[in-house]
């Protein structure tokens, strides 16, 4: 119920983005959830690209071009947004949730309210927007890292040639699928984490519980949303 109320309230707080106080929190969150996660995301992307290509091309014997096309389809449509969401959930949602839970337990959320500052506009909105942008861009970085690794694995020094063939083999809608899923997953992770952080018991024991529950609920939300995307994709 609190989650729905929070979702309902978020759009009405968008005008507060005009205030630098909110934009400052947005930039801090972008740095934490986005910039600082780049090395890990790129590393996972490289590993996924290498694993898939090695299995398809070297173990099963699929052609180089076919392996790269399969890698592109699987990465862009599923693995990049999903694995990025999993990394972001593990890395950022627990931090987000425990920070807000600690603020609630120490009365800082009430202190904000009593100064006339809406906690949803000041705390939740920038976190949700930052996570959406971070998830969207990191999904693209993930896909790029996986495809570059795959192209190198298949074509060695001709990796650029292998990569240049890809756009003809993939529909445009598949290229859009990756950032769109990233946006939705990012929103889900942040809303679930913020909701859990803002609501719960007013005791310090609730802080680690909030962090752990935020991770579990965000994973659940991401996988349910991914299933919905699959159903939606099949209906098109």
């Amino acid at each position: 119920m609190n989650l729905l109320r929070l979702l309902w309230r978020l759009p009405s707080t968008l005008p507060w983005l005009l205030r630098w106080t909110v934009r400052r929190v947005l930039l801090k969150q972008l740095y934490f959830s986005g910039v600082q996660a780049i090395p890990l995301i790129v590393l996972v992307g490289v590993a996924v690209g290498a694993i898939i290509v090695s299995q398809l091309h070297y173990a099963i014997g699929q052609s180089g071009e076919g392996s790269l096309k399969l890698l592109a389809i699987v990465t862009l449509s599923e693995l990049a947004p999903l694995l990025t969401a999993i990394v972001l959930t593990a890395r950022s949602s627990s931090a987000m949730s425990s920070e807000l839970a600690l603020m609630r337990v120490t009365g800082e959320i009430d202190h904000l309210r009593l100064q006339g500052i809406d906690p949803v506009a000041y705390l939740v909105l920038p976190r949700v927007l930052a996570m959406m942008v971070a998830s969207c861009l990191l999904s693209c970085y993930f896909a790029l890292a996986a495809l570059l690794t795959g192209a190198f694995g298949v074509g060695n020094l001709n990796w650029l040639l292998e990569l240049s063939r890809l756009p003809n083999a993939l529909p445009i809608s598949m290229l859009l699928w990756c950032p769109i899923k990233g946006l939705v997953f990012g929103a889900a992770i942040a809303v679930v984490a913020c909701n859990r952080g803002l609501h719960g018991f007013a005791s310090s024991n609730d802080v680690p519980i909030a962090a752990s529950q935020a991770v579990v609920r965000a994973f659940t939300a991401v996988f349910v949303l991914d299933l919905l995307f699959i159903v939606l994709g099949q209906m098109r």
């Binding site: 205030r19 009365g107 202190h111 309210r113 009593l114 100064q115 006339g116």
Partner: protein, 174 residues
């Protein structure tokens, strides 16, 4: 007859929490908030805490704001060097007395129409701090409405008038 500008309600616990939320919701814009304990955000530096409410409600961070803060800092007994070090510090490094002074300074910076006070803010502060804060806030916020909530009455020098609890209960029921 004009209504009193400074009212004290003798209440505590959940009634006080409800009353604080009620009065805060009635007034738009930034509000002064003098908490008995804490009151600043731990994940911001002191200077960010001082201007947060004012900036969040669109106040310009201009020369007037800087002059107001400098005047307040001087009133509270901090010179330029001490102020600079204080503003750069984290909230965790502050003691209770300094925090209570900073809450008053934040209230001055926000220029609110309404100031909410937990009576513990008065009773935990030293006389010297209270005198300095009163002088600063009387000069800086001559037209603000003040509401104090707590079981112990605010010091007489602050000029609060006691209001019956029934009035508060009536306001909360509405």
């Amino acid at each position: 007859m004009t209504p009193p500008q400074r009212i004290w309600y003798a209440c505590d616990g959940k009634v006080r929490d409800a009353a604080l939320a009620h009065f805060a919701a009635q007034q738009s814009g930034p509000k002064g908030w003098l908490a008995g304990e804490g009151g600043l955000l731990g994940n911001l530096r002191v200077w960010e805490n001082m201007i947060l409410a004012a900036a969040h409600h669109g106040a310009a961070l201009d020369a007037a704001m800087e002059a107001r803060l400098q005047q307040g800092l001087a009133c509270l007994g901090w010179d330029a060097a001490a102020s600079s070090a204080l503003f750069q510090s984290t909230v965790a490094a502050l003691d209770g007395e300094t925090t209570r002074k900073l809450l008053a300074l934040r209230t001055l910076a926000a220029q609110p129409a309404l100031v909410l006070v937990q009576c513990e803010w008065f009773h935990r502060s030293s006389t010297a701090t209270l005198d300095a804060c009163r002088m600063m806030l009387d000069q800086g916020l001559p037209n603000a409405r003040w509401i104090a909530l707590g079981t112990d009455a605010p010091p007489a020098a602050w000029g609060f008038q006691s209001a019956p609890l029934s009035e508060l209960n009536h306001a909360l029921e509405r």
